[in-house]
């Protein structure tokens, strides 16, 4: 059984998968792991090739769009230690097409689909739970601390939705930011973040939302457990309506 290693980057992962699919007669029999550079590490290291990585994703998208979407969501999760599963999943996706996502009795498919689903779920959740604050200069800023690295697809969503606004997304844990202004979307990292001043009417609008949030609940049906299961407390930190609770 052959063992392969890659450099730990996303491009490295995808390009080594592309390489193995090309060179190995039975990719489901080999393993792939991140290179640790320890003394007794065994395995053949595959070099990183960004164009190869890109072309793999492109071919998969043509062949099995759903499976490519799963791969994309899986990559958002930045999970380590599942490289072999991913290799087997991609190999199966080329073999079976989009039907592969139903092959949940296969351990590799199940692992990849589960992780992808969790990342996809958080992305969907954040589309609702993200909160923008209006700044003094008229731009809007939303801070978040998601479990998965979802800033790219999230920014895409808001670039279609809040087109006429100038806004920023900021992933506090990863120090990553997205900026939308005049029809262009940019990404970058921020080393030193200082919270800018809020616009004058911001606190007033927040108070309106807090008041609405309180009165819209039916007192006779109070159900904090259901509220928490739908909206886990880890997201409350940036929710305007949950401040001061």
């Amino acid at each position: 059984m052959n063992r392969y290693l890659y450099d730990g980057t996303a491009d490295g992962l995808l390009s080594s998968i592309a390489w193995i699919l090309e060179e190995e007669p039975d990719p489901e029999k080999v393993t792939l792991a991140k290179r640790m550079d320890t003394l007794f590490e065994e395995g053949f290291t595959i070099g990183t090739d960004a164009t190869l990585a890109e072309s793999l994703f492109f071919r998969l998208k043509q062949h099995a769009p759903d499976a490519a979407h799963t791969l994309y969501s899986f990559m958002l999760a930045e999970k380590e230690g599942m490289e072999t599963s991913l290799l087997h999943y991609v190999s199966l996706a080329f073999k079976h097409g989009d039907k592969v996502k139903g092959y949940l009795t296969h351990p590799a498919v199940r692992d990849i689909v589960n992780v992808a689903q969790k990342a996809g779920r958080e992305l969907h959740r954040m589309k609702g739970l993200l909160r923008f604050e209006k700044l003094q200069d008229g731009a809007y800023l939303a801070k978040m601390e998601p479990d998965y690295n979802i800033i790219h697809p999230l920014a895409d969503h808001f670039s279609r939705r809040l087109r006429a606004q100038h806004w920023f997304l900021y992933d506090v844990k990863r120090r990553m930011a997205a900026r939308w202004n005049n029809g262009t979307l940019q990404f970058g990292t921020i080393e030193q973040f200082t919270t800018p001043a809020l616009s004058e009417d911001e606190k007033k609008v927040q108070a309106l939302w807090q008041a609405f949030f309180k009165t819209i609940a039916i007192p006779d049906r109070k159900n904090p457990r259901l509220q928490k299961s739908n909206m886990p407390m880890k997201y409350w930190k940036y929710l305007v309506e949950k401040q001061g609770e």
Binding site: Y103, T105, G128, F132, E133, R163, Q165, L208, D220, R221
Partner: protein, 420 residues
Amino acid sequence: MDTLAKLQILSGAARYDASCASSGSKREGPSSGTGNTSSSGICHSWADDGRCISLLKILLSNDCIYDCAYCVNRSTNPVERASFTAREVIDLTLDFYRRNYIEGLFLSSAVMQSPDQTMERMVRVAEALRTEEQFGGYIHMKIIPGCSSDLVRKAGLYADRISVNIELPSQASLQRLAPQKHKHAILEPMALIGREIATSLVERKASCRAPRFAPAGQSTQMIIGASPENDFQILRLSQGLYKKMNLKRVYYSAYVPVIADNRLPVLAAPPLLREHRLYQADWLLRFYGFSAEEILSDDAPHLDESFDPKTAWALRHPEFFPVEINGADYATLLRVPGIGVLSAKRIVAARRFSRITPDGLKKIGVVIKRAKYFITCSGRSFEKPDQPPALIRQRLLLGESSEAPMSILPKQLVLPGLIA
């Protein structure tokens, strides 16, 4: 009165409307404006009662000329009255939308001077949002029964979803509790909306520039437990609404006593379990291929409190079981208690690759706690075969005794397709 005080009164008055969906519509929105809609819908928060908040749900006014017994806004109830100006509603909607608090606006109203006058003011808000403000987000508008059909048509052109509340499940109850409302004034606009939606769909097939009419369809709501109708009557009514009027959703709202009235029952608490069972039965009608007559009958017109309606059906029909996981078609799998739309789809998809073993069934995420009494896997039973229904009934009750009957409520029903 300032906007904050009005918002408190007019959202408090709107909270008894159960509808909160923001799904079913896919709108790109004008390029220079704000907002689009997502076909799966997005929840933005969850209130202290656990219900999702996706729309700014408010009344335009709670100043009502009607005197419906069950309603907090009835004219003889001494509550504080308020009305929004169109500008106030528009600013609230946009301020909230730009901060991603909401998916859009849910606008209803008490009947101010007349149905026409009220509906016209509501339509004007939606019109201004769409045309002056270029708002592309979701709009759900209530139709005031008795307003002109021109206003209904206009509402459907601006809104994603429109709805007429049926309020009570029968003409007799309507007459007793809401004497100013009439069955025909409710059903007529519903039928009109159904026709307009159908026409618009045909026209849009011919030309994508044809106007959309309520692309997210129409829904309705009825109050449960304020009047004497049984579950069978209610379910048959819903079935008729889905089949004949093409409704997207019927909402059930457990009656919450807001004011004492000798025409109303005295309840210790809102009938939440009954509401929950009705929603489960409603799901069986829409996604599981059941008919109201299979779920209930004139002899047994009430939904079982201890079992969900599908389990109750299965216990009455031992001849249908066991169902073979590796052979049964999708529709048959859906009839197994504990196997939902997602599980049935997973079973069908996984069977393409290999036979499913009992272990594999668990691995693909099918919960067999209830299903195990009703299925076989390649001929093998999970439980001793041919147990009498009475015994299964008892074991199911014991198996579920770890949760009190009310603790099943927190599981909010999710639309299939929402989470793939």
